[in-house]
Amino acid sequence: MTRPDPFRWISILPVNLWLWLWVLLPTLLVVIVSFASRDPAELIAWDFTFDNYTRLADPLYLQVFWHSLWLAGITALLCLLLGFPFAWWLARLRPGPRALALFLIIIPFWTNSLIRTYAIKLILGKQGLINTVLLQMGIVETPLDLLYTPFAVVFGLVYILFPFMVLPLYSNLEKLDHSLIEAARDLGAGRWQVLRQIVIPLTMPGIVAGTLIVFLPAMGMFYISDLLGGAKNLLVGNVVRNQFLSSMDWPFGSAISITLIVLMGLLMLAYFQASKRINRAGGIHDSTL
């Protein structure tokens, strides 16, 4: 019915070329480089090897990976525990106040996240706001060592990533059909039961999206651990950054990144498998949400 038209190609071609050139090609390049070797003069020597991946099994790197997973995991969990009730509150506001509240969540983003992390450093310091308040209220007698601890890193990560948890949860909770909850309550379900058997299953896509969007980037945010964590609380991002910008071992840095991507793929696969199994068991289908 539609005649061939030059506009069709104007809309299809540029964006596809762009994605091939700046997304597909660079990603393939990372994969290839991750199997190459380091060369002091040329950065990369094209002798293909698995060494970069076997090197990851070194206890030193395993420990950083493990600590990083742990920090990111705690961050995702805290974001979820804080974000879920918050998104619930947001979704049930009237349209006016809701728009204002959403706006208030976005505003901090207009200050660069590095500068916001620096502000957190000021707050957590020995003479920072938290210690000053605690001292004056007489809760502690000597200032607490908050900075350069895992706590500080998680505090910073949650601060920067919290909105990424709230927004997908909110868009899911907003679509939630409240008559289902009322029906369950009418049939005698308690609050807890409603939450566990109705609300959480129905908002699972949002929970998973939010968790992944927080968990994966958290491991890469080297500037947060740099500013707040000190030398003991490194993230995978710090290792990658060092390999690229100071040790000049690009192949190893690439291998670490590929490992991160594979981890992301596995997590998503696990999610899709799990949701398939739920569907087969006659549960609620994603597409009905």
Binding site: W22, P26, N112, Q127, Y223
Partner: protein, 264 residues
């Protein structure tokens, strides 16, 4: 019947406001400290020594910092504009046409959106090195446009997706060219999404640290990179003033765009 399981009304109400209050406190106390220290006489911001505007003057004379902020804004505005243009075209392609590789395009958009910044950062660095693109304005523009693109495509696409395609076919049957149909129907329709996509890209670009620190060069420093090198030796309050000014600028921009949208 179920009432006996629930907390007394005032308790839940209290819990609700405690949660909402703490979240906003958490989000805004650092911002407040940041802004306040821009007006603080004390250099390291550990205590309040009185109100001053001297940091504004210092900032004005700090050409390094002013240049970096200017570069950040130039990169944010140009990459947001480019990403919105490409994203709109891409969203129209996904919405209106069938073509080979359509699923693959969707896959690329999804993968890019889910990839951690650190992975995108090294991918950009590698491709720029491979193609001989020197690190500076162009590398920043390409990288920022690319990481904003999935967001603009999705924002515009989800707006178009609620729209009945047959109106366009009708316009075509009545003799309008494809371009006229898109220009007269789809573009006005997707205006709010275009503005939202642009603002989102502008925000993401201004906020970025990770990707920029891999693809910016010494010849074209942007704000986070400049500040990152300052943080180690202690940031002076000029940075706070600058952050405050940029916050006010972004706020004005958004309120202005909302006002324009409402007037339309």
């Amino acid at each position: 019947m179920t009432r006996r399981f629930s907390l007394p009304f005032n308790m839940t109400r209290f819990a609700k406001w405690l949660l909402v209050g703490s979240v906003f406190l958490y989000l805004y106390v650092p911002i407040a400290v940041l802004v306040a220290n821009g007006f603080n006489e004390h250099k390291y911001g550990t205590e309040w020594r009185g109100f001053t505007l001297k940091w504004f003057e210092k900032l004005w004379h700090n050409t390094n910092l002013m240049d970096a902020a200017g570069h950040s804004l130039v990169v944010a505005v140009s990459s947001a504009t480019l990403a919105t243009l490409l994203g709109a075209l891409g969203a129209i392609a996904m919405y209106r046409y069938d073509f080979r590789g359509k699923k693959f395009m969707g896959g690329l958009v999804f993968v890019e959106m889910m990839s951690p910044d650190i992975v995108l950062a090294i991918a950009f660095l590698l491709i720029f090195m491979a193609l001989g693109i020197s690190l500076g304005f162009w590398s920043l523009l390409l990288a920022h446009t690319t990481f904003c693109l999935p967001f603009t495509i999705i924002t515009v696409f989800s707006r178009l997706n609620n729209f009945d395609n047959s109106v366009l076919d009708a316009a075509r049957d009545l003799g309008a060219s494809e371009w006229t149909a898109v220009r007269k129907i789809l573009l006005p329709m997707s205006a709010p999404a275009l503005i939202a996509g642009w603002l989102l890209s502008f925000t993401l670009s201004l906020d970025d640290v990770i990707i920029s620190s891999f693809v910016s060069g010494p010849g074209y420093e942007i704000l986070p990179i400049r500040v990152f090198s300052l943080v180690k030796i202690g940031v002076s309050p000029e940075v706070n003033v600058l952050a405050t000014l940029m916050l006010v600028l972004s706020l004005t921009l958004v309120l202005l765009s909302q006002w324009i949208l409402k007037r339309k």
